[in-house]
Amino acid sequence: MKIENHKILLDDGADTGLEVLSNVGDFDGISFPKGISYSFFENKEPCVNSFYGEHNITGFTLPTRYKAYNLAKPYLAQKVTKYRNVLFIQRLVPVIPIVQYKNSPTFSNSSTFLFPSGVTYTPLVDKIITNVVRNKILIVPFFWSSGSVKEKFIDNYTSDIVDFSFFNYKLYYTDYKNKKYELINDYCNPSAAYLNANLITTKVANYYLQSSIPFEKFEEWTYPTSDLGSRATVVNKFTKHPEIEQQKPFVLSNDDVVRDNAGGFGARPTFSGSDYSDTTGYFESLAPRMTQTLAAQLNEPSSSTSICNLPLTAKSDFIKFINSIGLPYLTHLPTSWDDIEENTQVPVIKDNGQVDEAATPQSPANATHFDDNLNKLTDSKINTPDNDPGATISDTSIDPPADDTNKLPTINLFNRTFALTATEVRTLADELWNADDTKFEEIKNGLALMGGNPIQGLIDLRLYPIDFTQWTGTTEKIIVGRTTLDTSGRRIETSTIPQFTADLGTISGQYGNFMDFEPFSVFQIYLPFVGTNDLPANLVIGHSISAKASVDIITGAISYIVKADGYPILYKNGTIGVSIPMTADNATEYAGNVIHATNNVVQTAGNTTKTIANDAAKATSLKGAITDPSSNIAGAVSTGVDVVTGASAIATAGYDLSTTLNSTTIQQSGTASPSNSLYTSMNVYILQEYHNPVIPNNYAHDIGNACRTSGNVGNFTGYTIFSNVDLTGVSCTESEKTIILETLQNGVYL
């Protein structure tokens, strides 16, 4: 930061506001020379114009009043980082001076502080102030007993008050995430500021309370400075914000006040008598009253409240005042974090930022506004609209279909099914091809039903990326036909097919807005042994996605059901079992299938758009599958290898190869396998392909974000374009109406 040409540049060398946030602390302790009009800039974007306007100031420093914001900063920065909302980052920048502005300066008898005129801060900043900072601030009212320097808190303040002085309040920063709190500052201590005051009236009290409201704007209010005499150095005017309707804090009544520093006047229980006639609170009556200060006897208060209950009236009204500020509050000094969580009273803030007096306060238990509002702002309103981003999957009156519980057996019906290790497969091959004549004849005779060819007894051998141990039973010798071999395997005992589920959780889009939907984004799900499949964005975003795979171990088929919130949205089939060729017949058939497939590919090669690299990898995988050691069980497989090698160059032509193979796959032993898929991911995953938006920094301010809503013109803020406005009630000429309408339709700054 540097001071240059009477302007303070918040230049961190970056275009984003995040870095600026990290430098907010640079303001702490900085003294600003008097006689200068200040403007705050983030890079070249003016944030606040003429912060101190044309007023002459005596100089000021910015110490702890930034503290609240600084403490809130990490939380905001975290959210900003998480959601990458550039616009939000940049709009945070003006918070710096606004917090300073709204957080009243330190008063002293020697200082003159004039609230700035012409301060321009965006409604979004105001919203941030209202919803973020407000929720981070806890206000604790208490009473200052000037005599014994003893704090009496409001709950203890009943009729036993001895020396009623005046209300005061403390501000705490509350960090709900980390469950910490910290005293920021004491506010509104008129006793200290008005040490030389002769009298504090209702109006003075209201002034002090309201002028020190943190993060609150003031309604224009001219104070009769002529009556202040030597204390005329105090603020004499609050400037009404030019753009935003402001809420006037609750104003104390005469019943709630007053004291003089000499102890003569005051809302003491002992007061009674004749001189409570100063119902206006103006200083006009000061002189005559001061002449009888010590002997003053007050009349009954103007309300129906008796004098003895005056403190209670004050207490009640002071609570109203605290509520009107819109800050969460405690009625006693916090003793622990739990104390804050349990006992904090929460004003209810309406959507327009005003305090909902009818509903205020809420108890902590029902205080949805309290921290939820912060979450709503950071998690939803800024980045994610409240409405469900995704489409409704189905009529909610219809439950998701339950999984089919069919357990009709498909295994162990007519044949036997064994699960083997690679070693056991090799042992089986050795036993079959090296059997002595007696064993061979035994097998042959046992297979008389099938023509006596021993190899016909081996129906199918497949390799899976699955360990079938959990589906197997006892280990027993393999029986081919009616012959028991020496090789053992584990009998598959399941009568249902193995099923696997991948839970992908609830899916969030990249941006949380329309950019997450077609045509800006495309969602795909990758399913092992099937490939990628498009998913409609509206069935993905905001929904819990799962993929359930069912494996038919007899045929090698795999079937997927992809579900969103339990509702099936995609069915896909593929082949997972790698068929191992075992005989020359099988291998020849296998090669024939491949040649048939590649011929089909050649015919369509000209149309393919896939990369050579992909295709080469697939061809390599295909060849690899055939030469895989696990398939060496078939001694005659070399014939197939040669055929496929010769065809592999052709096979590189297209990605359609695997599809074609699958489509012509014969679900018997020796057919083409999906072994190439074994080299790809075994995980299910979802990917989002999206076009990055290039949003200029000032897009919202210069162009405006798309919306479709209606309301009074005055209800909107910032750059706004209307499609149409009903100008009924505007008392101007038709020519001017035309100008107004065209301006509104072309865009105005509200």
Binding site: Q470, Q499, I576, I703, G704, Y719, I740
Partner: protein
């Protein structure tokens, strides 16, 4: 007919203008006709205020016409006279009335990007890919009982165990 002059630092499209007074209020002299939308008049003023009006004033309020005007042209004439031409600013003049009018908004600065498609946002032509979620399903490095052998014969002693895993 009094005229009050201002320095307007606000955008022409701002319904709320940021005005600061400049120069004294003055009485104007009408040149023939005074158009309510684009008035032109002559002002006689003191020497000290000529500089302010000529150099800085860009906005004015004509009380009799009850309207605010942009100053579109200024000419310094002899005899400490200034000829000023204005253009009515109905947006600010009738701001309070306009704000009570109802309308439909199609773009707004403080409405966050939502699910309403904004076709004015430029996007890069290429696609960026990100993996959103991933969950394991199979393990191709398994070295257990990965082979399934189906043999002829038998078929009895099937059981009912098995089922889903994840």
């Amino acid at each position: 007919m009094d005229v009050t002059f201002y320095i307007n630092t606000s955008d022409k499209r701002a319904i709320n203008k940021n005005l600061s007074s400049v120069g004294p209020s003055s009485s104007l002299t009408i040149i023939e006709n005074l158009d309510i939308l684009t008035p032109t008049f002559i002002l006689t003023c003191s020497g000290s205020s000529i500089g302010d009006l000529m150099g800085f004033a860009n906005y004015m309020y004509i009380g009799t016409l009850a309207r605010y005007y942009y100053i579109t042209d200024k000419k310094l004439l002899t005899g400490n006279r200034i000829q000023i031409t204005g253009l009515v600013d109905p947006l600010y003049t009738y701001a309070s009335q306009i704000k009570t009018c109802s309308g439909t908004v199609v773009r707004n600065e403080n409405t966050p990007l939502s699910y309403i498609v904004d076709n004015q946002i430029p996007v890069e032509s290429y696609l960026t890919v990100r993996f959103i979620a991933e969950a394991p399903l199979f393990d191709n490095k398994t070295s257990g009982t990965n082979f399934i052998l189906n043999v002829a014969g038998g078929g009895s002693n099937s059981s009912t165990s098995g089922g889903e895993t994840s």
